[in-house]
């Protein structure tokens, strides 16, 4: 199976370790991974801030870059939801504006074959035990667009529960938003920071060493808050946990 990694602009620029972890994990599971070098950004920040028309060229670019692959895997719930939920909506809006079906037709091929990483593992590869080893106490935060947008359900938890050595503890108020919200974090920074601090306090109350999530944008906000509040916890993307083995453990 020829699979394209859509790493996302945030991960590519700031979290290359997550990208390396996805490559390592999928390769270990026998998947041939390609990273199309022309990939950039799905346009989520533009779209969600109200710049739908600026997001359209990015969506078209995404479709050009990834259209030929059998599956597109992304380690981000929100970027995955952007393609799956909002690309069809962009097509509909263009049609409603009297611009015909061109955009909808251009974007249609990539929509059904874009998978968030944990979805790809559980639904497409059919695995929950990925042979990982991670001897740490971990709590899991289900990010909003993964949880409510893509409906990831218990997939990430099932994957974590199968990791050898990992102790998974429930996060109180897990379903509540961490307060990142893209440009919301800047436009409403007081409320965003208050939400982040509450999320960190809930995470701390579990006694876990690691707060795990499947989206580094949310982890950037939660981790930045953890560092400012000088907690002992650290944020780790789920890919890095699942890629970790006893021979090559992640720290």
């Amino acid at each position: 199976m020829r699979v394209a990694l859509f790493l996302t602009c945030v991960n590519d620029t700031l979290y290359p370790d997550t990208g390396r972890a996805v490559v390592k994990l999928l390769t270990r599971l026998g998947v041939e991974v390609d990273f199309p070098m022309a990939q950039t950004c799905c346009g989520q920040a533009h779209y969600n801030t109200g710049y739908r028309h600026e997001a359209e060229p990015l969506a078209r670019h995404f479709s050009d870059v990834f259209g030929e692959y059998e599956a597109i895997v992304t380690p981000s719930g929100s970027c995955g939801a952007m393609v799956r939920e909002l690309y069809p909506r962009m097509g509909e809006r263009a049609r409603a504006e009297g611009r015909g079906d061109t955009l909808a037709a251009t974007l249609a091929p990539v929509v059904p074959k874009t998978y968030e990483l944990t979805e790809f593992l559980v639904d497409v590869l059919g695995v929950t035990d990925v042979g990982a080893y991670y001897p740490h106490k971990v709590t899991y935060h289900p990010t909003c667009h993964g949880l409510r947008g893509l409906g990831l359900g218990d997939r990430p938890r099932r994957l974590l529960q199968a990791v050898e050595g990992l102790e998974l503890v429930e996060l109180p108020g897990a379903d509540e938003c961490c307060g990142f919200g893209g440009t919301f974090a800047l436009k409403n920074s007081d409320v965003s920071a208050a939400m982040g601090a509450d999320k960190v306090r809930n995470a701390e109350s579990t006694g876990a060493e690691v707060l795990c999530a499947a989206d580094n944008s949310c982890l950037m906000h939660i981790g930045g808050t953890m560092a400012r509040l000088e907690t002992d916890m650290r944020p780790v993307h789920i890919a890095e946990i699942l890629a970790s083995t006893d021979k090559e453990p992640a720290v």
Binding site: Y47, G50, C144, K187, T225
Partner: protein
């Protein structure tokens, strides 16, 4: 909408104080989390909840699509049943009609059922200006009125007050309005409720005019429905000689049978009850029973404009249950007052900028008062995709474009204050459609990473004021991929 909120600062400024008010945060957290959990339980009991939710959505969409027809049918039904129908295009017209009707009775005071529509138009203030005193009779609305306060929640307007604060308000203010609070009043719920009951009872027995809204209006029968918990509504709807109901035009359902759906979904979504204690229904007037005169004031006030918007019109499905407020993490921290409208929370953030337009500072900021977490959409009993409408309204704010205002097609100009953001978005779009440019930027960031400041100046403070910045890695992923052919080249 009401002038009460004119001149409100933008949402982020209004929320700034609320976030730091520990008492308010505590009150809201306790109240919203309690009701949130109860609602989830009440909804989980119903095996066909998803079907009810879908039915509610469809009934409302159908009604809105044929609103013209159903409004005329309603007018005919109400008139045939002995009522009088008035049409109000905006708040001023509705207020004028109601004040005129009260004056015709020769009365100078009215009792009120809790009503969002009359708050939306600022009816109490308008009546006050005409020398007519309006008494709120819902317990929480009474607390708000006595405290010279503003409502901060659709269902529990005094949610921002705790028991101690309510006791103080009763003790201090009740005597100004009527029967004083009993001596030695404590803050136990039973004593507070009794004080309110005694205070209100004399108003119910004296009042000759009642004013209400309605949760539903049935087009085929001309029946109005009020759903409530305290029985104060039943008093106001049955005891006075004249009843005036001010109702938004979107509150119609076509048939009596349609109520079946909403009388299940509304109480479970709002108060987390299987059925609310009082459901009052009346059809025009009946000899020797209830009010002799019934007037229905049908209120537009921006609803037709909202209906013209393909994406935004779904906000008119709202049945004012406030489930979205109770699950909203932003509402929980900012409080209801920050929304600058009688409609706070997620539904307010999509309703106010549509009913009032996006011209004012507060209305232009409301679509951004959300992290788009989607919890509101998940609990909405009529499936309003609030995040979708929020993003749509953000687009209206930053791009402008076609809209309908006061019945006329207009082309809105982009709101002020977004020039720098627009330039940044355009620059990012250019970089993201030129992978080479993106790569250049990433490399520059990586090479200069040792000299990056730990906190940002200017607008960047919004991030670094409360959060550390992420460390920029030595190389972006794409450089590693190219250098190692995806890890196969041996280098790590």
């Amino acid at each position: 909408m009401s002038g009460t909120f004119v001149g409100m600062p933008a949402f982020p400024e209004a929320a700034h104080e609320a976030v730091r008010n520990e008492t308010l945060r505590g009150n809201l957290r306790h109240a919203t989390h309690t009701i949130r959990a109860k609602r989830a339980k009440a909804v989980a009991e119903v095996s066909d909840w998803a079907a009810l939710r879908d039915a509610g959505k469809r009934i409302k969409d159908h009604t809105l699509r044929h609103l013209d027809r159903y409004l005329e049918q309603l007018e005919a039904s109400v008139t045939a049943a002995g009522g009088t129908v008035h049409w109000a295009a905006d708040a001023d017209e509705a207020n004028r009609i109601v004040a005129g009707l009260v004056k015709e009775t020769g009365e100078s005071e009215v009792v009120k059922v809790k009503s969002m529509a009359t708050q939306e138009i600022g009816l109490n203030e308008a009546l006050e200006a005409e020398g007519i005193r309006a008494y709120e009779t819902d317990l929480a609305e009474l607390i708000v009125q006595l405290g010279k306060d503003r409502p901060s929640h659709i269902l529990v307007p005094a949610i921002h007050r705790n028991r101690g604060e309510i006791r103080d308000i009763f003790e201090r203010e009740m005597s100004e309005w009527g029967r004083p609070a009993p001596e030695g009043l404590t803050d136990t719920p039973a004593e507070l409720a009794e004080a309110a009951r005694l205070h209100l009872r004399e108003k119910f027995l004296r009042a000759k005019v009642g004013i209400s809204g309605a949760n539903f209006m049935v087009a085929e029968t001309g029946t109005l429905v009020v759903v409530e918990s305290e029985g104060n509504g039943r008093m106001c709807l049955t005891l006075p000689e004249t009843l005036i109901s001010v109702v938004g035009i979107e509150k119609i359902v076509p048939t009596w049978r349609d109520l079946e759906v909403f009388l299940q979904t509304l109480p479970r979504s709002s108060t987390a009850e299987r059925m609310n204690p009082y459901t009052s229904m009346w059809t025009g007037t009946t000899d020797e029973d209830g009010p002799r005169d019934f007037h229905l004031v049908l209120l537009d006030n921006g609803r037709t404009d909202t209906l013209a918007d393909e994406v935004g019109r779904q906000a008119l499905r709202c049945i004012r249950c406030s489930a979205c407020l109770n699950v909203c993490p932003v509402y929980e921290r900012a409080g209801g007052h920050a929304y600058g409208s009688v409609y706070p929370g997620p539904i307010g953030a999509i309703l106010s900028p549509q009913l009032r337009g996006t011209q004012s500072e507060i209305d232009a900021s409301l679509p951004y008062a959300s992290s788009l977490c989607g919890a509101c959409y998940e609990v909405c009993p009529v499936a309003i995709d609030i995040p979708e409408v929020l993003v749509h309204l953000r687009e209206r704010v930053v791009e402008g474009g076609p809209a309908v205002r006061e019945g006329n097609k207009v082309v809105l100009r982009p709101a002020k204050g977004h020039a720098a953001e627009r330039a940044a978005m355009r620059a990012a779009r250019w970089a993201f459609t030129h992978p080479g440019a993106l790569r250049g930027g990433q490399r520059l960031a990586s090479r200069t990473r040792r000299i990056h400041p730990r906190s940002l100046p200017g607008p960047g403070k919004a991030w670094s004021g409360t959060r550390e910045l992420p460390a920029v890695p030595a190389e972006p992923f794409r450089d590693w991929w190219q250098r190692t052919q995806g890890g196969k080249g041996g280098a790590k």
